[in-house]
Every structure is written in C-alpha cells, then in structure tokens.
C-alpha cells in the first residue's frame, strides 16, 4: 500500500471515529485513573457533579495540576465506604482542562476514597448519626432544590402542604392539577433531592418510593417533564443548577414553606440568576454541598492535594488559575460569603448570618452584570468598608 493510501485511510478512519465519538456512538476508551496527573479519589452524590467538574477543569489546567476523580453512585456511599473501608473499584469520572467529563478505570484491587461530597450530613444517612471515625466535613457552596413543571403548564407556585398531598396521595391528592400519578415524577428517597423535598413537605422519605415514577436522575426529570403529554398535570423536582440550565424546558415553581405567607423562586425573576431569595432567607429549599475528607480532626487533612481542592471548592481559598467565588457563581451556586442566612444542620431553621469576609457585591455583579456597591482597586480604595474582589463590601 502506498504511503498516501495509508495516510488517506488513516485520515478517513480518524474522521469516522471522530464523528462516531462526537455522536456518542462509540464509547471513549478508558484510561487508567492512576496514570493521570496527581489524582485525588472521591465518591458521593450526583448533584455536586457540575460543581466538581467546574473546579476539576480549573485544577487540571492550573500550574500545579490535580486530577479530580469522582464516582457518584449516591449521596451516602462515602460514609459507607469509609466506615466499611471499602475501596473504590470499576470506573470513575475525571474532567479535562476544557471541562469535558471522561471515564477512567480504577485499579483492579481498588483505591481508597480520600474525599467525598453530598448535599447532607452523614446524620441523614441510614445507620449513621454522624461521620464515621477519621472522616471530617465542611459546608461548601449552597445549592437549591426546586419544584418544576413543564413550561407548557400554567402553574407558578406550590406550598409545602401541597407537596405533602401530591407526593403523599398521588391520584387522591385533591390538589389540582396534580392529581394524576402517572404525571408525578420522583426520585429515589436516598437521593439528596428526594431527601430535601420529603423533609420540606413533612413526608417520610420512603414515601417518595411509593407515589409517582422514579426517573433516577436530574437530567431524566427534565426530559420526562418537558416531553409530558399532559403538561398541566406534570410535576417533579431537581437541583437548582439543573433547572437553571434548562429554563427553556421547565419552569421553577415559587415555593411557599410552612409558616410562610407567600411563595418565592430562588431568583428575583425568571431571567435572573441572583439567588437573592435564597441569600436573604425567603426561599427555604436549599442545602450546602458538603465536602468530606479524611482526617483525624476538623481541619486536619490526610492529603495536601485534597486540602487544596476542598479549600478551593468551598470558597475558603482562591488561586489565580482557580478563582473560586467566580467559579461557584458561574455554576449557579452561592458561596457562603454571599449568604445572609445560614442553617446549622440538615434543613434546620434558617438563621441570620454575617459572613466574616462578605462577597455579596461581587456575587451580584457576577450573576447580574451589575452591583449597587462602589468599585475599588489598589489605586482606588473604598471610602468605607473593605475592598474585596473589586467591590466595596460592608466589612
């Protein structure tokens, strides 16, 4: 075969493979996870995946790269893996410098989980009343949970009590238009989203396995709702990040909690991403993405790489290559420094909060393109307050 023929065939083969690959028709070959630069191995829920991917891409591209490897079988798998000393096996996700998720193969004899993430504390995991020995955790960015309907629905709000009726009684909810169980979509009661909705409604989480259709993932929830043939009757719930990314397909309902006289969406309008009602305490359905790490005591990390990753993703630290607050905002989450309320446990009552180093002005600008705060720099200091991330914050 002539050289030009070989090169032509090779080019055609490459093109075909590339096309097939891009269409998802051919699975990407796995690479050994251990062959990637400076891997850190984690496990947990699927809800934090977008946030983890955002930071994983930035860290992979940083001057001192880390490869974030994550397996997301479910919220409470981390505490079980640590408690039982079960190694991670099979395959896991990692992210390219461009933020594309890829799959790598874990060592045959497994690898020890070094960190993890989920939207709740270990106390909400069946069989645990707290972290197992040697595991610590810290709250990270805030995520919201949202009740959603197809954009073709006319519904705009729901209450805690209505959720109780819809997911507690299905066809017999007596809460029009959500009276057709075939149009009630749900999640596994061990999912972070499922736990949140159950607690908000005052339902035992196990009830979510009784009423409605389990769609398994956030993405499936959007698909099932947006393709419903009975959109007025259709209802479900997803993470706020998921809903924000698919506002073309689903509408977030205003949520009215027990004891609240009006319902609010997380943002100030359907076109906004400011999470103002979350930050100021009018939207109840939120939780921290919690990050877990191995260590003998809080703040003591077994792995310096894990420490660096967790300090960045929680917004406690920032690097030129990994601007944490900006990345958190871009991902649709709220950093703790932009919150004016907090909670001390899983869905415990909201309490006012004053962040020690506030970033609300910057967060407003990052999410809306404007801020009422004065701008500042090294050459133009603030007349009052403290210059943080280019804006004059109150402290």
């Amino acid at each position: 075969m002539q050289r030009w023929q070989r090169s032509t065939y090779a080019w055609i083969a490459s093109l075909a493979l590339g096309l097939a690959w891009s269409s998802g028709a051919v699975a990407q070959p796995d690479v050994p996870c251990a062959s990637l630069p400076n891997p850190i191995y984690g496990i947990g829920g699927s809800a934090p995946n977008p946030l983890i991917g955002t930071f994983a891409a930035a860290l992979a591209a940083s001057d001192d790269p880390i490869t974030v490897i994550y397996q997301s079988p479910g919220a409470c798998f981390l505490v079980r893996a640590v408690a039982d000393d079960t190694p991670l096996t099979g395959t896991a996700s990692y992210w390219t410098t461009e933020g594309q998720a890829r799959t790598c193969t874990l060592p045959l004899d497994g690898v020890r989980a070094e960190w993890g993430s989920m939207g709740n504390t270990a106390a909400l995991c069946d069989g645990f009343d707290g972290n197992p020995p040697g595991l610590q955790d810290v709250p990270g960015p805030v995520t919201t949970w949202t009740m959603i309907v197809p954009t073709a629905s006319s519904q705009t709000s729901i209450s805690s009590e209505a959720i109780y009726m819809v997911y507690g009684f299905g066809d017999e909810s007596g809460t029009a238009p959500w009276t057709d169980e075939s149009q009630i979509f749900t999640r596994n009661p061990t999912s972070a989203a499922g736990l949140a909705i159950a607690i908000a409604a005052g339902l035992p989480p196990s009830r979510l396995a009784v009423i409605g259709t389990d769609v398994m993932t956030n993405g499936n929830m959007v698909t099932r709702l947006s393709t419903s043939t009975s959109p007025e009757a259709a209802i479900g719930f997803v993470s706020g990040e998921t809903a924000d990314a698919r506002r073309d397909a689903v509408r977030v309902l205003a949520y009215q909690h027990r004891g609240q006289s009006c319902g609010y969406t997380p943002d100030s309008s359907v076109s906004a991403f400011d999470k103002i009602n979350v930050r100021e305490g009018r939207y109840w359905l939120w939780a921290f993405h919690r990050f877990f790490y191995r260590g003998s005591a809080p703040g003591t990390f077994e792995s310096p790489r894990v420490q660096r990753f967790i300090r960045l993703i929680t917004g406690e630290a920032s690097e030129p290559d990994v601007p944490s607050i900006q990345l958190i905002a871009d991902n649709g989450n709220v950093p703790l420094c932009a919150m004016e309320v907090t909670r001390t446990g899983d869905y415990t009552p909201l309490v006012p909060y004053t962040p020690p180093a506030p970033c609300g002005c910057y967060f407003d600008f990052a999410t809306t393109g404007e801020s009422t705060c004065a701008t500042c720099s090294e050459s133009t200091p603030c007349a009052s307050g403290t210059c943080r991330l280019g804006f004059c914050e109150a402290r």
Partner: protein
Amino acid sequence: MTMTSNTASITRSRLWLRAVFALSFVLAACGDDDAFGPPDGGGRRDSGVDSGEVLPDGGDLDGTVPDGGDAGPDVDAGPDCTGEDGCYSCEPTDEGQLLNACNELGCVPFDNRARITRLNPDGSLPPLP
C-alpha cells in the same frame, strides 16, 4: 394577575397566624422539629389573594409582598414590626421572620385552603394512608 388585599380578612389571618405561630413555637420547643408528619396545613391563610394563578414569571410580578405574614414564632414583636401587608418589617432574627420579611420583590402565594380540597375541617393535613 394581581394580588388583592382585604383588610378584614388580613386582620383575621393575622390573629390566626399568631395563634398558629405560637403553637408552632411551643411544638418546636418541645423538640418535635425532626419528626415527620403532616405540615400544618392551616398554618396560614392566604386571604385576599387569587389562589396563585399568576404570570409564569414567578418572581417578577408586580412587586407584591406577603399577604398575611407575621412576626413568626416571635409573637411578642408587636405591631411595630407588622408591615403594610402583614409582612415582618423589623430586622428578622428567626426563620418565621426571615420567611415573611417585608421586601420589594415579587412573590406568588399558594392558597392552601382554596387549592387543597382534602384538608381536614380544621385546616390541617390528613395523615398518610
């Protein structure tokens, strides 16, 4: 859609709210927070509103504020903390006050009594089957 207000019904709802908030506070103090059970379906009344059938733009409506909000569990806050439409107008210090704090953003009420037909006569929610 525009939310309407009715002074008499709001006054009634405030009294009702205060009673329920006080009851809620007592229950919370008794450590019932973590127990699963029917939420208090009669915990408030969205009197004077139009059952929440409003623009799809949930948060960008007409600048309305909560219709029957109250001081939350802090029932001793006094009338000075009650805003024009019953919202909580002082600096919030607990969840009830935060959730019902006066603000200039739009909200969309869900009228439990009008929308949930299976409420018990006293407005509470039925137990699960």
